[in-house]
Amino acid sequence: MYFNVRKQETGLKITKDEVDYVAHLARLDFSEAEKSKFTSQLNDILMYMEKLSQVDTAGVEPMSHAISLQNAFRDDIVKDSLGNDLSLSNAPEARGPFFRVPKVIE
């Protein structure tokens, strides 16, 4: 993998290129200065996370919720909903019954 090679070279948990890639996934943009600061801070944090590799978790079922509930069903009864006007009331831009956004394709 591209990133693994880079990491062996630098000895870092996360490289600046990888920060770039993750930022794109998260739909965030950073300046060069921010990127350098983040790369170093994220490295410190990820180094700390390394602790977990000490724990033997063989056969342990991952836990996603503290209280196990089965499906939360309710009767299928139609109730009042927010409606169009209220749903659009906080929109930065709306036209008619729609949210308005910048162009998606040419």
Partner: protein, 485 residues
């Protein structure tokens, strides 16, 4: 008599005997806000006109003999719970103008119990922080020392109660965000069991950990607030359909014959010596109440922070994907296309700590790293929960410190995120296991800063916590002091 200084139960008896009206109480609280808010900055938004109008209405109800448990009582809400028609910012630029079209269930329940809202309190942006320094709307100061932080993320709610800028308040706790500021501000704070209080209308940070709870001036008030907000809500899929006891019944039961666990992993090097002394005095107090303190072990304690700072950011990265500049809140202008608009909006709308956690979470969930981080953390989480289950076969409740140090100085930890995360070392395990916890004042440092003790109990054992905390509060007889504001 200054009404803003009193507790819910004291004000309730005054209301019932005609000693004070709701309007008197609201007047007193807003006079106090006028006096100290410029220095404390506990609130983002004040609801003064609304509060006075509601007080007049409450006084009509009182005259008509319709008195609910919170009738006429001024209560502040953390700016993370949605209030219909009132600005709800979550401490963020990205929601700087958001006016929810609906109320959170907890808001509705408090309204039904007669509460009057004073305003929306300051908080770390999206509840991510331990000091209330990351709010877009400025910092909150600790009423006991204005050069220090009030704790976080619910720092505004804690400071408002400590400074008598409300009678009680609502906060949220994902990794200690109620208990830690309660301890640092010298008030009572409870994080209920996951599923006990509805999260409907709570702006999500980490959905498997978030829980709403009260800040109060004493344990009896905590019981009264829990009575009002606990219970099943069909609008919230993780809300648990279980009966809620009357928590005030646990107040004077005592803890004679109880076993209280002292986990050895929580009494480590690095705890401030004055915090440690206060904890030793707390142990003596508990034994003086006829309980036995027993040493227990929670072997996975040292991994709690690492697990928390993977799981919480992972859930946050997913929850905060909704802030895209389309449906509500801030939108960056001058974008060339949709993707550019998303990136510009999110980069300008979120603060540094929120972006840091979104990055950690996105990384931990990304292809190739999921097993090493998120899956591993979820497995260790199961072991942490098992530690508690085993511990509660040996004791009724557990006693630990809340924060390794008293309130630290403003700015002290802002440049070192990892050091800031270490502030949560004694609180995150509770959220990972889903159990309830309460923070109770247990003394002061020589410099006059409050110290808190934490009690923990098994799932849905909030009554147990009220019982031990009330007994402790009564018997420890912590000196009654007020912040010198």
């Amino acid at each position: 008599m200054i009404l803003s200084r009193l507790t819910i139960h004291e004000l309730q008896s005054l209301i019932r005997t005609g000693g004070a009206t709701s309007s008197d109480i609201v007047q007193s609280v807003f006079a106090r806000i006028e006096e100290v808010e410029g220095r404390v900055h506990a609130y983002i938004t004040l609801m003064k006109d609304y509060a006075f109008a509601e007080a007049a209405r409450a006084d009509q109800d009182i005259k008509a003999g319709k008195i609910q448990p919170l009738t006429g009582i001024p209560i502040a809400l953390k700016d993370i719970v949605c209030t219909k028609g009132f600005l709800t910012t979550c401490g963020s630029h990205i929601l700087y103008n958001y006016v929810p079209p609906y109320d959170a269930t907890v808001v509705q329940k408090l309204r039904e119990a007669g509460a009057i809202f004073t305003g929306k309190t300051n908080m770390d942006e999206f509840a991510m922080g331990s000091s209330t320094e990351t709010s877009y709307f400025g910092i909150t100061r600790n009423p006991w020392d204005l050069d220090r932080i009030p704790g976080g993320s619910s720092g505004g709610s804690a400071a408002a109660v400590a400074a008598d800028e409300c009678i009680a308040s609502i906060g949220s706790d994902t990794g200690g965000s109620i208990r830690q500021p309660a301890a640092l501000c010298g008030v009572v704070g409870m994080k209920p069991t996951y599923g006990r209080v509805s999260r409907f209308g709570l702006i999500a940070y980490a959905s498997s950990l978030d829980q709403i709870g009260p800040f109060t001036k004493d344990v009896e008030d905590c019981a009264i607030m829990m009575n009002a907000i606990a219970g099943y809500d069909s609008q919230e899929a993780t809300s648990v359909p279980m009966n809620v006891p009357d928590y005030t019944e646990f107040i004077s039961r005592g803890i004679d014959g109880w076993k209280v666990g002292i986990p050895k992993e929580y009494f480590i090097e690095g705890i401030d010596p004055e915090v440690n002394e206060a904890m030793q005095r707390a142990i003596t107090t508990i034994e003086g109440l006829g309980a036995t303190c027993v040493e227990i072990s929670l072997p996975h304690t040292e991994y709690c922070l690492a697990v928390y700072y993977i799981i919480a950011p992972a859930e946050a990265s997913s929850n905060l994907a909704r802030y895209d500049g389309v449906k509500y809140g801030f939108r960056s202008q001058d974008s060339i296309d949709l993707l550019d608009m998303y990136k510009k909006t999110r980069s300008a709308g979120f603060g540094a700590e929120v972006k840091r956690r979104i990055m950690i979470g996105t990384y931990a969930l990304s292809s190739g790293y999921y097993d090493a981080y998120y899956k591993k953390a979820s497995q260790v989480r199961a072991l942490i929960k098992r530690d508690f289950t085993e511990a509660f076969t040996l004791c009724n409740a557990i006693l630990t410190p809340i924060s390794p140090t008293p309130a630290f100085k403003i700015g002290e930890r802002m440049d070192n995120p990892l050091q800031m995360y270490l502030s949560d070392i004694f609180t995150v395990s509770t959220n990972l296991a889903g159990i309830p916890g309460i923070s109770v004042p247990c003394g002061f440092t020589k410099g006059g800063l409050p110290i808190g003790a934490q009690f923990l109990a098994g799932h849905f054992e909030e009554g147990t916590l009220i019982q031990i905390a009330a007994a402790f509060e009564k018997y420890a007889n912590i000196e009654k002091r007020r912040p010198n504001l």
